[in-house]
Amino acid sequence: MMNKLNFLQPDKNNLNTYLYTGVILVSLSIFIVFLNSFFNKDIISFLPGSISFFLPLILGFIGLHLIRIDYSGLKFLDRVNKNINTNNFNAFLSLLIVFVIIKSLPPLLSWFILDANIAGDSKDVCTGSGACWTYIKIWFNRFMYGMYPNAEQWRINLSFIALASLGTIGFFATEKFKKYLTLYYVVVYPVIAFFFIFFFISGGPIFFDFSYGIIAAVISVIIGFFIPSKFKMYYFIIVPITLYILLKYVFFYEELIELGKLEALEWVETGAWGGLSLTFIVSFFCLIFCFPIGLFLSLGRRSDFPVIKYFSIGMIEFWRGVPLITVLFMSSVMFPMFLPEDMFIDKLVRVIIAISLFEAAYVAEVIRGGLQALPRGQYDAAKSLGMGYWKMHILVILPQALKLVIPGIANTFLALVKDTPLIFVVGLLEIVGMLNLAKTNPEWLGFAMEGYVFASVLFFIICYAMSKYSYNLEQKYKTER
C-alpha cells in the first residue's frame, strides 16, 4: 500500500522513495560541480547567472533533507545522517565543504602533480605552470644538511640512525630493566646524544680540555656503584674533581698535548651545519633541557623559600616577557661581551641555551597549572605518611600533575620545533633558513613557493608525529579518577 508522501517530513514509511529522490538530487548537485570544476563545463549555464550558481547547493540541500530519516535501518544511511546531516545547518555546511574540496582539487592537482616538473637538473626544465620539484631535488642535499661537506654527511646519517635506534630501547626493555628506563632517557641517552653530536658530527680533536671531565665522570660513576650509600654524597663531590685534576695535570699532561693533535675526523664548525638535521639537533637538545629546567622553575615558584620563589618568578616572567628573536640576538651579540676575553662558547651552544631557557619558562607555567589542579588532599596524604618535599613530589605529586599537562607540554614542544627557524638571526640556517638562502640564489630565483610547501610538509610530518605521540602517552597514562 502506498503511504501519503510528505516531502517536508520524510519518514520511514516511504523510505525508498525518499532515498532514491534524495540520492539522485545530491548526486546531481555534486555532478554539476564536478563537471564545472574538472572539465570546465557548465551544463546549467542556460539558467540565469545567480540561479545557476546556487542551483547545486539548493538541489543538494533538498536531497540531504529527503534522506534525513532517523533509524532508517540502513547502517550506512544512519552513519551519514549522524555525522554530516544532523540538521539543515549541518547539511548546508557539509555540502559547502564538499563543493569547496571539489572546486579546489583540480588546481591543486595540476600544481602539485599534473603540471609539475621533477626531471632534469636545471631550472630550464621547469616550463609548466605547475610546481618545479626539480628545484627541491637539486637543493635537497642542502635542505637536509646545510653547508655540511658532502663527503662527511655520512657522519650525520650514522649519528641519527644510531640515536634513533638507541631511542627505541625502551620498547625492548625487559621487566627487570624497566625501572631504569627513566634514568636512561633522562640522563644516559642525552649524554650519549651529546657525545655523538660533539665528537662525531662536530669532529675535531678527540682529547681536549672537556674530555678529562667526561673521563673523570664516567670512571667515578662506575666506581660509584660499589660505594656504600652512606658515603655516596661525599664521594660524588670529591672523587670526580680529584680525578679531573689528576687526569689533567698528572697522568695525561704530556701525552695529551700529542693526542690532542690527533684528529680522527675532520672538524666541521657549527656555522656550516644546517638544514633539517640542524632543526633536529636544536629541537632535540632544547626539548631535553627545557623540560627539567621548566620543572624546577615551576616547583621553585611554589616554594616557601623567598629566594628560590622570587628567583623562579623572575626567570619565568623575564623569559616570557621578551620575544625569542631578541633573546637569540642577545645570545649572539651581547652575551659574548660578558665573557672573559679568551673564553669562547660556540654559537650553537648559546642558541640552544637561549631557546631552552625561553621555552622552560612556558613549560614551567604549564606544569604549574598541573600542580595547581591537584587537590590539597594529595599533599596532605603524602605528608601524613611521612614523606618529605622531594619524596612527596617525585612519588605522588609530579606523576599526577605531569600526566595532566601532557597536552600542554606537547603544545609547548610543538611551538618550540616551529620556533627553531628563528635561529637564522644568529646566522644558523636550518631548513627554512636554507630555503631563504636558496630562493635568493640567482640561478634559482622564483621558486620560493615550492620551497615553503616542501618545508611545510616536513614540519607538518614532524609536528603531527609529535602530537600523535603525545596523544598516545595521554591514553597510556590515563587512569580513572
Partner: protein
Amino acid sequence: MSDKIIQITEMNKWFGDFQVLKNINLEVEKNKKIVVCGPSGSGKSTLIRCINRLEEHQQGSIIVDGNELTEDTKDIEKIRAEVGMVFQQFNLFPHLSILDNCTLAPIWVKKMPKKDAEELALQHLEKVQIADQASKYPGQLSGGQQQRCAIARALCMEPKIMLFDEPTSALDPEMIKEVLDAMVNLAKAGMTMIVVTHEMGFAKEVADEVIFMDEGMIVERAETKEFFANPKSDRTKLFLSQIL
C-alpha cells in the same frame, strides 16, 4: 616516664585574623580512644591536623610522643610517620594501585624491602577485607572500599597513633558500617586513636572519652558513659539532642 603520647597545652591557632582554636589543653594517654565531636566549623579538623602538623599552631605547645612540634622541628617527617591519618575524602593516590598505595610509604620512607612491604600491605588489606582488590586502582573501588584502603595504607606505616577526620561522612549509609567495623577492630587491637566523627554509636562502643568542641574551644570532655548520660554544659546537651 609518662604514658601521655599526646600533650597539648595552651594551644592557640589563627587563620589570619580568625582564631580557629582557643586555648586548647588536651592530653591523650597511650592506647586510649578519643572521639571528638561538635558542630561544623568548630575546629575539629584543624585540631587533629595540628597534631601531625599539617597545620601550624601559633601559640602553646604540642608534644607528640616526646617530640615538641615547632617551626624548627627537623624530623617532622619522622613524627608524621608515627602518626597515621585517615581523611574524609580518602585521598588515595589515584595513579597507583591499591597495593602500591599501601607499599609506597613503607618502601620509600621506611626503606623496607619491596617484598616485605607487600607482605605487610596484604596483611593489613586482609584485616580491612579488601585484599582481593589489591591490584585495582582507587577509581575502580567503592567509597567504603577506598576508605578501608586508606586505613590500611596508614596502618602499613605501623603508626603509634591514628587520627581519623570524619572517615565516614563522605560515604553512603550502607558503606559506613564496613568502615566502622574496620575501625572497631583496630580499636580492639589497642591502637591509640583520635576520631572526629558524628557516629555516636561508634563513640559509645569504643571510645574511652568524648570531647565536645564548639567555636574553637573544648567545651566538654568526659568519659563516654558520663558524656552521654549526663552532659554538663547546655551547649553539649543541645548538640546531643540534635544528633541522637
